[in-house]
Every structure is written in C-alpha cells, then in structure tokens.
C-alpha cells in the first residue's frame, strides 16, 4: 500500500514523538501492530497503551490522553463507534484513526461521521500506517482510496439523489472532487499536488474540508448508510 501520503515524508510533531494508543479486541492483532511499529524504529511515533474492549479503552484513553488512537471498528459492546462517542466529546484533542478489516461503506462512513479523522484497512503496511498516524496527529485527514471512493459516491449527483439543502455542506467543490478522484486513483498527496499544480498544503486543506463535509452533511446518502444499520 502506498497511498497514505506515502513518500511525502509527513512532518514529525515538534514536541517529541506522537503517542499512539491501540484499541482492538484481537490481542494478536495488537501485538502485531505494536511489533511492526516498533520494528520501523520510527522516531516519530511511540505506542503508549492498548485496550481490548470498549470499557477498557474509554478508561485508559481518558487516563493516558494519547495523541492518536488506532481504533478497531468492529468490537463487542458497540465497537469503535462507542469508544468514539464516549471519548471524542470530552477529549476532542485525542485524534482517532479507524483501523479495520471491514470495507463496508456504512462502517467506513459511520466511523468518520462519529468523529474519526481517517480510515485505513488492516492490510496497510507498517510504514504507511506510521505515516497515516503522523498525518492525522498533525490535523490532516487520511483518506484511503476506498474511503475516497465511498465519499465520492455519497456526494454524487446521480438521479434519485437527495436534494441539496445546504450547498456549503452538501456539495463538494470541483477542486475537492478532483482531489478525491486522484486519491481514489491511488495518488499520494505529493503527486496530487503536482498533477493539479497546487501545493501539498492546499491538497491537505481540500481533504480536511471533504472530511468535515462528510462528518457534518445531512445528505441522504450519508445518513442512509448509517440508518440502514440502525446505528444512528
């Protein structure tokens, strides 16, 4: 996987390494991610804790207040969404990056709408995962090609789509659409910037704006994905 802004060399935070907290109900997977992140010998990130259940995660995240939480979407007792809902409100400074084996559109959209700043699948390489962690911790959004595709689909104006009630939130600008399409085609931020003759910073701004719209918009497609599963 090379898409997570790969090769951009996302900047490290000024004040020490990014602290990372793992939430996954599979101990084996937690161990694997920890080993992989440690194996990178990446100065930029440090794993500070882990939890295997929703309750445990809420308590420990609140106690440690890490920079980034790697959050499994599917867990007993409400899944990653339950953790997001309980922690994101009181501690908005903790950034969530969803990490899941599921590629179902409603899972992806739901966790984004609950407040996660990105979504990556578990098949991501350690290097790309580290880049994605650093990227979300610096305030950017992380869109995998698949997530970009889902969002494009949700905002598409195909026949039968819901009417736009709030153009500010319910529509993507042409530029945002272009950026998303290139993301979906597997382009890194740097490549997108080169292709569109804009700066990487501008690409990041567009992606963050798309993330905000995905989270805030009331468009039918976005809420439908959620309500189909009766999660909203």
């Amino acid at each position: 996987m090379t898409w997570a802004g790969g090769g951009d060399g996302a900047p490290a935070k000024a004040d020490g390494p990014v602290t990372v907290f793992l939430v996954d109900d599979h101990a084996l997977f937690r161990t694997g991610v920890k080993a992989e992140l440690a194996g990178l010998e990446d100065e930029r990130i440090r794993v500070v804790g882990e939890a295997g259940s929703v309750g445990e995660a809420v308590v420990r995240i609140t106690a440690t207040l890490p920079d980034v939480v790697l959050l499994d979407v599917h867990m007993p007792d409400g899944g990653g969404r339950a953790v997001l809902e309980q922690v994101h409100g009181p501690h908005p400074e903790v950034v969530f990056l969803a990490l899941s084996v599921s590629d179902a559109a409603e899972d992806v959209i739901n966790v984004i709408r609950a407040g996660a700043r990105g979504y990556v699948t578990k098949t991501i390489s350690g290097r790309d995962l580290a880049d994605a962690v650093v990227r979300v911790s610096s305030g950017d959004a992380v869109f995998s090609p698949r997530l970009a595709g889902f969002v494009l689909d949700a905002f598409s104006d195909r026949p039968g789509a819901a009417p736009v009630t709030d153009p500010e939130l319910d529509m993507l600008s042409p530029r945002e659409r272009e950026v998303l399409k290139l993301l979906a085609r597997g382009y890194a931020y740097k490549e997108i910037a080169a292709q569109l003759f804009i700066s990487i910073k501008t690409v990041e701004t567009h992606v963050s704006s798309v993330l905000r719209k995905t989270q805030m918009s009331n468009r039918y497609e976005l809420t439908r994905w959620a309500t189909d599963r009766r999660l909203v």
Binding site: S102, K181, A184
Partner: protein
C-alpha cells in the same frame, strides 16, 4: 316444534358473521391445510397433499374444506366426501335446522370434530355463484322461519329468536376464529398472541360479547332480574378468577414460544456461518500451511480467500448486507464485473488489485469491452511493473465510464513500444476504439504507469444503477 324458530333464525343469521370472515379469508390466501390430526386410518394412505386423501373404500376422506366453505367448510367437505353437489348438502342442513335445530347442532358438531383439510379440488375459493347460492339457501331458511312465526310461534320470537340467535352468531364468530387451522397458524407465528390480527381480535371480542349478551338477555326474559344479575356477577367473577390464575401460564407460554423461535433462528444462522467458514477459510488455512514455504503462493491464497470472504460478508448480495441472502453476486453490473476481473488477475499473478468504483450500471456490450480492456491493463501491470499492488479506480458519471489502472512499478516509454506488442495495441486500444472509447497511457521509465480508459455509456443503462459502491 317450539325450537323451530330458533334454528331457522340461526340459519338466517349466517350472513352476519360471514362478511368479516370472508374478508379474513381474502386477506390471507394461504389455503394451507391444518394438521390432519385424528383422522382415522390416515397412516395407511400416502397420497400426496395435492390429491384428496381417500378412505379405504375409495371415498375422499371427510375433512372440512375452509377454502371453499362459507362458514366453516363443513358442507363443502361433506359434498366432496359424498360426491354430491354442495348445494344439496346445504339444503339438507337448512331443512334439518328447521326441524328442531338438528341442522345447526349437526353442523356445529361436525365443525368441532371434523379436522380441517385440504380441498384437493382444483378451484380453491368458493366462487361468487356458489356463495350466492349458500346465502340463498339461508334466506329460504329465514323465510320459512318467518312463515312459521306468522303461523303462531310469535311468542318465541321475543325470548328465543333474538337473544339465542345473537348467542349463536357470537358462537359462530368464536368458533370461526378458533378454528383449528387458525390455531395451528397461531402456533407457527412468532409470539403466539401476536399471531391473530387486530381484526380477528375484534371478531373474537365481538363474538364473546354476543354470546354472553345473548345468553343473559335470554335468561333475563325467562327469570327475574336480580337473580340474573347475581348469576352474571358470579360468572364474571369466575371468568376473571380463571384469567388471573392462568396469567403466569399464558405469559410463560408466550415467552417460551418466542425463546424457542429465537433459538432456532440463531442455531440456523450459526450453522450457516460455520458451514461457510469450513468450506472456505479452513480449507484455505490448510492450504496455506502446506504452502508455507512459498511466499507468493501464500499471498495469493490469502488474497483470494480475503476477497471471497469479504464479498460474502459485505458484498452487494452479501451475508451482512441489509437485503442480502448469502453469497453469489452475479456479474450483471459493472462493479461486480470489474471486481471479478480484478480477482482473476489477483489469483493469476499474485498481486493485490483493489478496485474502487463510484457509481454503477447494468452490464452491456460496451461496458463488457471496457472491463475486458481494464483487465488487460491490470494483467500488463501485474506482468511488467514488478509491483505487489495495482490501484484500480472506476467511475460512471455524466454518461461516461472511466477506468484508471495505475501501478508504481518500472514504467516504460510509450513511444518506444514496438508495433508488434499486441497487448496494448490490440487488447486495449483496439477494443476501446471499436466501442467508441479512448485509451490513454501515461508512463515513464521508473515512474510507474497509468492506463486511462474511458467510454461513453448509455445513460438509460445507468438508470439501473445500484445504490452505493
């Protein structure tokens, strides 16, 4: 002779309960036969459910045929059993009813004791003519009753005909409702008591009111008021007492039924998942263990299995999708066809190909050519780029279908490709040209390759668009 008006009125009362009952029949055209319990010598005959079951002497067995009946299907059943027109049977019942109520009693007893059964006849529902005929017979019965009244049985009308007639109507309501076919259906439905529709509840309640009311008014006419009142109070108190005593039992019954049903569904679900996991995941894991030395093969098996399981779980017709029925997603849509092509390339060349698709359309010859060209582009990337992953993005938007196949591999100089390289020239460019599309290749040595395919697509076909990706 004194009982004659009663019976006559009873026959005449038939149109009362019928409309509601017919409504109920019309609303549920199940026609499913009730359990054929208590039918003698049924074990020795194995004729199928469509054939009418026969008694040893070759007669169709006596069952009530609710499909064809107007009240309880007794007359219809007897007519089939005796092989006589149903009208005759009804006339006989009506005449018997005029003779001291024998017809009504006989009908009631047959209704109670004859099991409900399959008509075995070709025409299920009583047709309009047949129903009209039944009403006609009932009307003649009423006419005879009125004639009898005119001949001097007027005194009886006051006490007997009204109240007891009402009670009989109520009884018919209740019996119709609690008919064993219906009860069998209640047993089958989820929570026991949820089974009867609200309409049938009203009929049931109405029946009870009519029976109790009719009987008490009858008693009122016969005896003095206070005695009846105390008797009524005693009856009501007894009924309430019985209801209270049996409440826990009812609750338990309902809960047990619900629990059992849930348990059964869960068990079925579990068995289905276990079967699928066994057939797919466990087999693949076994294969992976045997191929453990061969990285490429392990990767290929794992990717293939992942794709299969993913589509089973989350695919358009997948297990976890809202209206999913299980695996199997036919390649009749663009998304499915592209996913299939990507899967084939993955399996053949042991690279990861993950298509991202926006929009969808029903497959047509042009889209099929587009998918084939995209597949060829994926194959080229898998063979020549030397990478482990190929990005595929497709969109159908504004009357154009586009596919981007991208790798970050070796790349090449498009101008330096010899004219004899058929893959790109024929399989991709030629194909796209023939179907009115275009193919563009962006590549440079060391910078990877992106093949861009686009083709105008029939907007009408796109109206068959599926939701979501």
């Amino acid at each position: 002779m004194g009982a004659e008006p009663v019976t006559g009125r009873s026959r005449g009362s038939r149109p009362g309960p019928i409309p509601a009952a017919l409504l109920a029949l019309g609303a549920r055209p199940t026609g499913s036969p009730g359990p054929n319990t208590g039918a003698p010598s049924s074990g020795s005959f194995t004729s199928g459910p469509v054939e009418p079951r026969l008694t040893p002497d070759g007669m169709p067995k006596l069952v009530r045929i609710r499909d064809r009946g107007v009240v309880g299907g007794v007359a219809a059943g007897i007519s089939v059993h005796l092989r006589v027109p149903v009208a005759w049977v009804r006339v006989v019942f009506a005449l018997l009813a005029l003779m001291g109520g024998a017809g009504v009693i006989a009908y009631a007893l047959l209704w109670i004791f004859v099991p409900a059964g399959d008509s075995g006849a070709t025409d299920g529902r009583p047709n309009t003519a047949e129903r009209r005929q039944a009403y006609g017979i009932a009307a003649v019965g009423v006419a005879l009753l009125i004639a009898g009244t005119a001949l001097g049985f007027g005194d009886w009308i006051g006490y007997v005909l009204g109240p007891l007639g009402l009670a009989a109507i109520g009884g018919a309501f209740i019996w119709k409702e609690a008919d064993d076919t219906r009860r069998a259906r209640w047993r089958r439905t989820a929570a026991g008591f949820v089974g009867p529709t609200s309409g049938s509840w009203w009929r049931l309640v109405g029946g009870v009111v009519l029976v109790i009311g009719g009987l008490s008014v009858f008693a009122l006419g016969q005896t003095d008021f206070t005695a009846v009142r105390s008797a009524l109070i005693a009856v009501v108190l007894t009924l309430v007492g019985v209801a209270i005593i049996t409440v826990p039992w009812w609750i338990r019954l309902v809960r047990d039924l619900g629990d059992e049903r849930r348990e059964r569904i869960r068990e079925k679900e579990r068995a289905e998942i276990a079967a699928h996991l066994h057939d797919s995941v466990l087999q693949t894991l076994a294969l992976i263990q045997r191929q453990a030395g061969d990285n490429r093969e392990v990767l290929r098996l794992a990717r293939g299995q992942e794709r299969e399981l993913r589509s089973w779980l989350y695919g358009p017709a997948g297990y976890a999708s809202p209206d999913g029925v299980g695996p199997t997603a036919p390649s009749t849509t663009f998304v499915a066809a592209l996913a299939t092509a990507a899967g084939e390339v993955e399996d053949t060349y042991a690279v990861a190909v993950s298509p991202v698709v926006v929009g969808d359309a029903a497959m047509g010859p042009h889209l099929a050519a587009l998918v084939a060209a995209a597949r060829e582009a994926m194959v080229n990337a898998a063979k020549h780029a030397g990478v482990a992953e190929i990005s595929v993005y497709a969109e159908i938007e504004g009357g154009t279908a586009s596919v981007f196949v991208r790798d970050r591999g070796a790349g090449f100089d498009p101008l330096a490709v010899g004219a004899d390289r058929r893959g790109l020239a024929e399989s991709i460019r030629g194909r796209m040209d023939r179907h009115g599309g275009t193919a563009t290749v962006h590549s440079a040595p060391g910078a990877g390759t992106e093949v861009e395919l686009s083709m105008p697509v029939d907007v009408e076909a796109e109206s068959a668009t599926k939701d979501g990706a």
